[in-house]
């Protein structure tokens, strides 16, 4: 059953990504070159709705959070390495699948590279585990937990911040 839910969720998500033009190389590089913020508008809208929805349901005991562990070393170094590759490829793992779906078949080269990259990672993981991952290991922590306050002030603050950023993009015509 989980497989069918996964497929349906993916189909709807892929449909929305394509409709908003978020999966295009030109849109992704457009954002990285600070010329076209379409993908950031999509992401921040997703996050605002998701953040409020998930935390309301969490407070009602209807959903459980699944927070990824924080290792400042791995998150920061891996993040920068990912970004460098993303700037070359112009697709991220999810959008590469979407780009292929609308016929941008250069995504296939990227998907091939991703499979090789995943393999390289799996085989070098033992070395990384004893080094990079131990730098700044904070465990599964959220921003409100780190600040030692309730999550709602943080959510309200972030919604205001995100809306201000989006308003600024509109003002600048990005």
């Amino acid at each position: 059953m989980a497989l069918i839910y996964g497929l349906i969720t993916g189909i709807v998500f892929g449909f929305l990504l394509q409709k908003a033009r978020v999966i295009r190389y030109d849109k992704q590089l457009g954002a990285l070159r600070l010329k076209d913020m379409t993908i950031v508008k999509f992401m921040l809208s997703n996050i605002i709705v998701g953040m409020v929805g998930i935390y309301i349901l969490n407070d009602m005991g209807m959903v459980r959070l699944s927070v990824k562990a924080t290792s400042i070393g791995a998150n920061a170094l891996g993040g920068i390495v990912f970004g460098l590759g993303w700037g070359l490829l112009g697709y991220c793992p999810g959008t590469a699948a979407g780009a292929l779906g609308e016929g941008r078949w250069d995504a296939l080269w990227g998907i091939g590279g991703m499979l090789v990259g995943a393999s390289l990672f799996a085989h070098t993981y033992p070395v990384l585990k004893s080094t990079v991952y131990t730098w700044g290991n904070l465990g599964k922590i959220t921003l409100p937990q780190m600040l030692g306050i309730s999550h709602w002030p943080v959510i309200i603050g972030l919604v205001i911040l995100y809306v201000l950023v989006l308003g600024w993009f509109e003002k600048k015509g990005l």
Binding site: A2, L16, L44, I48, G85, G87, G94, G117
Partner: protein, 176 residues
Amino acid sequence: MKTEQGAWNPYVAGALSGLLGVFSVVVAGKFMGASTTFVRASGMIEKMFVPETVANTAYYMSKGLQFDWQFLFVIGICIGSLIASLTSKTFVWQAVPTMWENRHGGSVARRGVVAFVGGMVAMYGARLAGGCPSGHGLSGLTQLSVSGFIAAACFFAGGMLMAALVFPRSRQERHG
């Protein structure tokens, strides 16, 4: 706001995708992510050739090499995009993106090599970071996880750096 002819407003599509993410957690208990699927796929492929090596690779074993929710999610993205592009007649069989071609020419091989290397580097980084823009970016920031904020900021920092190298600003752009 500039939107392409026929494109949906990114705020509307983004908000709908946010609702989809919430439904997914309620119905299936699953947060969106994509990059672990590539680990499972590469493990499955390697297993066909060197099964013993794969069995001794702790990282593959920790992820479980089977088709799971996320694997079908990634395949679904491809199908959903195909449906959306065919029904709106925006499907284009294209080997070299327009922005790339305008700066670097239409060579399929050149774009192919750069895309392949880019994919390899991106996936290595995504696994090291513990997720990609969907797992860390969307799902991580939705849950306010500290790892998500660090990773998402670094995704854009690395991406902007590389974009500046791939598309150096001309003299005219800098001064004009």
